[in-house]
């Protein structure tokens, strides 16, 4: 008798819960990004707003994945049949994720091409691949010059006058380097400038120095490597000279160039806006300024732009309701307002020009120079970001450790990269 009652109760409960589900029509979608405190908080704030405006959608935010494992986790989730409906990816990964069929093109009626191209920072056009847009960002980053005001002052320089040209950059780097003994790398006690190719220096070379020396990194359709040219060689030799000739610093010293600047042992540093947060957390006392990157010999301005961007996965596309929810969510997190919230909470620049041109932002002494750069920023098309970075790291090491000529080292790297691009484009239209 008891058993029968128990059964009846269970059946009743099941019926009730079924009815609740059918009535609520709540679609649940998943959003994934890597774990970075400020980004997680900002996205939680956006999700909360989104839930209020869209009570029929529930977004599950998975941000428990460490940065270094993010790709691995996505790769592991796909065969298991789980994973995000909306995913945040580095823009340079898009070709690989498109090739795998992991992303679906953004629905054209919700994200019209003309709208993306007229409202977003020009570098966002890089998300276009094989004729479609696959992702759209909330925020973007650019490179700027960081300088240590205390070191400037100690060297007898005006602490409010950062170098504005490449020549000044060299002069100041030399003037701010100190040694214990002869002017040799190993004797450096304070660095003027230390090129870190594994950091941002490879971007500075490709998209800034090379252009300022009159070259371009790749041809129009990104099928040909052009940075191995004479202009490239001149720009690369200029970069290498800090270590080989001027002896103003090396990434081998002070646990790396970035750490050296953060701890106050380097005068000049090239880095992205995300570094403002790192400095604030690790050495809030650092007395530094931020300026636009030095201009080239003929006054050319350029900077490297990059961004983490959001796409919709084939998992969402498999179900109409999820696809609809994912599309609405993606629209919501990429508005100009979302970008404004993002810059306040994360310190990355809004991707939509409307909020990036905000007078308060442009006037900000530290974010302003990055925002100014968005106008003239170039984002590199990457077929395989880590390999393409490695080619320049190796070319640089061949010069500074192998004593190779800058042009020969660069030519070797360019040949490897051409082979990589040939392989990438082989069999495409």
């Amino acid at each position: 008798m008891n058993k029968v009652r128990l059964m009846l109760m269970l059946v009743g409960l099941l019926a009730l819960s079924g009815a609740a589900l059918a009535d609520g029509h709540v679609v649940e979608i998943e959003y994934w990004q890597y774990n970075f405190g400020a980004r997680v908080d900002a996205m939680n704030a956006l999700i909360e707003q989104f839930h209020e405006a869209n009570p029929d959608v529930r977004v599950v935010h998975n941000s428990d994945i460490p940065y270094a494992n993010f790709r691995d986790e996505l790769a592991a989730s796909a065969p298991a049949g789980v994973g995000p409906d909306v995913v945040t990816l580095f823009y340079g990964w898009i070709p690989a994720f498109v090739d795998a069929g992991y992303l679906v093109p953004l629905p054209a009626e919700d994200f019209p091409e003309e709208w993306i191209e007229s409202h977003f920072s020009p570098m966002v056009a890089n998300s276009k691949f094989e004729g479609s847009y696959w992702a759209v960002p909330t925020a973007v980053r650019s490179l700027a010059l960081f300088w240590n005001k205390d070191i400037f002052e100690a060297a007898g320089l005006d602490p409010e006058a950062p170098p504005t040209t490449l020549d000044e950059f060299v002069e100041i780097a030399i003037a701010t380097t100190t040694y214990d003994g002869d002017a040799e790398i190993m004797n450096i006690t304070q660095q003027g400038y230390a090129p870190q190719l594994s950091g941002q220096a490879h971007h500075w070379f490709r998209e800034v120095l090379l252009r300022q020396h009159g070259g371009v990194p790749y041809n129009e359709d990104n099928t040909e490597v052009l940075w191995g040219s004479d202009e490239g060689c001149a720009a690369f030799a200029w970069l290498a000279s800090f270590e080989t000739e001027h002896k103003t610093g090396s990434n081998d010293l002070f646990n790396g160039a970035t750490e050296s600047f953060i701890t106050g042992t380097a005068a000049l540093h090239i880095d992205g806006s995300f570094r403002l947060g790192t400095i604030a957390r690790n050495n809030p006392e650092l007395n530094y300024g931020v300026a636009e990157l030095p201009v080239g010999p003929n006054g050319e301005r350029s900077t490297f732009g990059s961004y983490w961007t959001h796409g919709i996965t084939r998992r969402a596309a498999g179900d109409e309701a999820r696809m609809d929810a994912a599309t609405r969510f993606l629209q919501f997190i990429t508005t100009a307002e979302a970008g404004a919230l993002w810059v306040d909470m994360v310190g990355e620049l809004p991707a939509q020009l409307e909020s990036a041109g905000d007078p308060d932002l442009v006037a900000d002494s530290r974010l302003g120079p990055f925002a100014a750069g968005l106008e003239y920023a170039h984002a590199t098309f990457f077929a395989d970001e880590s390999q393409q970075r490695q080619h320049l790291i190796d070319a640089f090491d061949l010069i500074r450790l192998g004593g190779m000529d800058a042009c020969d080292a660069l030519a070797e790297g360019a040949a490897l990269e051409q082979a990589l691009l040939d392989d990438f484009w082989a069999g495409r239209g």
């Binding site: 795998a100 069929g101 190993m186 450096i188 081998d252 395989d384 490695q390 190796d394």
Partner: protein, 301 residues
Amino acid sequence: MFHMTVARRKMLWAYIFLAIPIVFFAVIRIYPAFFAFAMSLFDYNPLAIDQPYVGLENYETLLAEMNKPRSVTRAAFINTAGYIILGMPLQLLIALLIALMLNEIRSFVTLFRLAFFLPFVTSTIAVSWVFRWLYQPQFGLFNVLLKAFELPQQPFLNNPKQALASILAVVIWQGLGFAVVIFLAGLKHIPRVYYEAARVDGATRWQTFRNITLPLLNPSIVYLVVLQSISFLRMFAPVLAMTDQGDGGPLNSTTTVVLRVYREAFQRLNMGYAAALTVVLFCIILLVTIFQLRVTTRRTN
């Protein structure tokens, strides 16, 4: 069938209990291993739905890479060979010398044994990072000492000529404790009467070592040669932790086959090629082990 003796029933239960770890082992270790063999025949991208069959293409790529002068795959195999050829004999030699000395001392025995064994139970990543700082060009302890004695400072990990040796030194030191313990156990098993007999016969220390200790230690040596070789062939964590961005540099001078497998599989999502690398590494380990067992297990009289 249902009327088993107590002994039979006990045995049946023993099999049932033993079956659980075997099933676990088969599912978690054996199946993935075979799956890697299959994977190496596909253009396997975990993000994609279709994994096209490409036959031996991954192996052909590997072979082509091996013939390119500055290829990272080739560097990985050459470095791995370097690690085992230099590392294994050196580690066993030092461990044997230490074990012989530890076998002689009578006081503070535990303290000394602990000192040699401690690095082995310390996390590899922690050890690697500590050494990374010790090797640091300016304020690292080694260079501070060199400077104090007015010797030229060394780049260690930052120079392609010194980096492999610098990493190898750490790995040898860290694994020493394990080899020492095995050697000590082996030494304890040699009956004292042999040594007494040798002394009565007037044998020199070298003769005693050459004709008694070494041959009777052979089982320990075989065990260690095989085990340590495999461990050197699988070098990964120290290189990941001690090189800039964990990339096995500078100029690929420290990268290993396993590091390449990891990079190809999880950074480039090129799992088919990574699987082909593991299959080749598996075959190398198998051949090296068989060869070592053949050569070292000679009968001792």
